[in-house]
């Protein structure tokens, strides 16, 4: 049986509600029980809708006791010390059991000048950074900025959530070839034949199942992966194995 481990799911109340949003982590667990997703790496909407300091704390409190949900935190530039200094932030992550971080870059630049010490620490500890390209926007300039970031931190583990439903293979496949830490999520990788073609070129260890909930109608990504013509090993990797491995390799 395939074990689904969703690397991008969200709960909480948004400023502008999504029709499908669920207010609590427990509600998300109930929904996932119905549709057959066993685990999820989760975001609380307050992490980007209010403030990372608010949302990060809520994500820990809400997921406490829910063994199938793993909390993430959002980052901010260390210079403003809103989340503490780098060492303090990493120590807090460790104590809270957080093993992956999100960048929601709506008010800062995602580069070494801003995040150098934090990204150095993340490389050392193999902490993955999830980058929400939907918030960044799908402009060539933003893909160029992401390329520059990876050039500066070639060993940073970066999980890219694609920005829209259109094909972006011409942008992200060069990154996959050049930077071994780059991974792509599936919630908006709708390209027909894309997943199979990706696996034929690069193997299956760089794709991660994500629902994109509540921004994507649930179920689509699951059914697409189930019948993409993948062998069992590739399907198992993408459905959850790769995320288990990435989080298991975090040294914190």
């Amino acid at each position: 049986m395939i074990e689904w481990f969703d690397c991008h799911a969200e709960y909480g109340r948004r400023r502008i509600p999504s029709p499908l949003q669920v207010p609590t982590a427990a509600d998300l667990v109930n929904l996932y029980d119905q549709i057959g997703i066993q685990r999820a790496l989760v975001v609380h909407s307050a992490m980007y809708e209010q403030h990372p300091a608010v949302g990060n704390a809520l994500n820990i409190a809400e997921t406490r006791g829910l063994s199938t949900l793993m909390p993430t935190w959002a980052i901010l530039p260390p210079q403003t010390v809103e989340l503490g200094g780098v060492a303090e932030f990493i120590e807090s992550m460790s104590q809270a059991g957080v093993r992956a971080l999100w960048a929601f870059p709506t008010s800062y630049l995602l580069n070494g000048i801003t995040f150098g010490p934090l990204f150095d620490a993340m490389v050392l500890r193999r902490i993955p950074l999830l980058v929400n390209m939907d918030l960044l926007g799908a402009t060539p300039g933003n893909w160029a900025a992401l390329t520059a970031l990876l050039t500066e931190f070639p060993d940073l583990r970066v999980i890219i959530t694609l920005p829209t439903y259109l094909g972006f293979d011409r942008y992200f496949r060069p990154l996959i070839e050049c930077f071994r830490g780059v991974h792509i999520t599936t919630s908006r990788y709708l390209l027909e034949g894309g997943v199979k073609s990706f696996c034929e070129h690069y193997g299956s260890r760089r794709l991660l199942f994500s629902s994109g909930f509540p921004d994507v109608q649930p179920g689509g990504s699951m059914l697409a992966l189930l019948h993409a013509g993948l062998n069992e090993e590739d399907l198992t990797n993408i459905a959850g194995g790769n995320l288990f491995r990435l989080l298991g390799e975090v040294e914190i």
Partner: protein, 276 residues
């Protein structure tokens, strides 16, 4: 409402279901400038259709909407070789009105051509622009299906669609992408106008759209589409299947409505001239 019904489970288990033969009302069987497609050629499209349980697709070539003279030749070849799997919209480029005569004739004398594909954004020409009207009038006169790319854009928004739907009530207007980003407008049009249908390409994955469209317009006013080779049909099928709607709704969306519309077009064409 139980989410995983027998129909949904059958798609999960097998990827396709014999008694739910999907009809794809929005397909483009060739390459496109701005996107990589692994399998854009007809054989690739057919293989995908087989994998996903799509019995038939209605196509309009990308090329035909650029060059109306040479671009649609591949569509004709597709109809000649695979009429059991494909029907076609004749692609319209409003900047070549001298090509309209053939576009009109094809709907009478070429078996499988059931209407037109119009893309007001791609051609930067509003749907109500005078250049489109001869084609829309022809579609009205001959009760054809017109698939229009629609979005929250002044060239092809709900207001534009309302004007032409009222002006040409005998044509069936499919709102491709359901007025993307103006879902309330699209749903209201489909609810209030007999000749307007929502089409699900891309918007099937928009959270809550399917449930809202079924609730407000009714599942009898929605047809399925994939934009193949753009989008993985299973992704969009999954969005329909996992929605909180009934299996009757799913059957209506995935094939029954399209079967009804295509049968009506076939009926209206009984008087057509001999096929060439």
């Amino acid at each position: 409402m139980k989410r995983i019904t027998p129909l949904v489970q059958a798609f999960i288990d097998h990827g396709r279901v014999a008694d739910c033969p999907v009809i794809d009302m929005h397909c483009h069987p060739d390459r496109f400038r701005d996107s990589y497609f692994p399998h854009p050629e007809p054989q690739g499209i057919i293989a995908t259709m087989d994998r996903c349980g799509i019995r038939r697709a209605v196509v309009a070539s990308h090329a035909g909407m650029v060059d109306p003279y040479s671009g649609s030749r591949a569509t004709l070849s597709l109809l000649r070789n695979h009429l059991d799997r494909f029907l076609a919209y004749w692609g319209i480029n409003p900047h070549y009105p001298e090509a309209f005569e053939e576009a009109q004739a094809r709907t009478l004398d070429t078996v499988g051509v059931i209407g037109y594909k119009i893309h007001p954004m791609w051609h930067d020409c509003a749907l109500t622009d005078a250049r489109y009207q001869p084609i829309l009038q022809w579609a009205h006169d001959h009760q054809l299906i017109v698939l229009v790319h629609t979005a929250n854009d002044p060239r092809c928004n709900a207001q534009q669609c309302l004007i032409v739907a009222q002006r040409y009530p005998n044509m069936t207007l499919l709102l491709g992408h359901s007025c993307y980003d103006d879902y309330a407008g699209a749903i209201a049009l489909a609810r209030e106008h007999e000749n307007i249908y929502l089409e699900l390409t891309m918007v099937a994955s928009v959270p809550g759209f399917i449930e809202r469209a079924v609730g407000e317009a009714g599942s009898h006013k929605i047809v399925f589409g994939t934009d193949l080779p753009w989008f993985n049909p299973h992704f969009l099928l999954g969005c329909v299947l996992y929605s909180q709607i009934t299996d009757d709704d799913r059957h209506a969306i995935l094939h029954r409505n399209a079967e009804r519309l295509l049968a009506e077009v076939a009926h209206h064409r009984l008087d057509a001239a001999p096929a060439r």
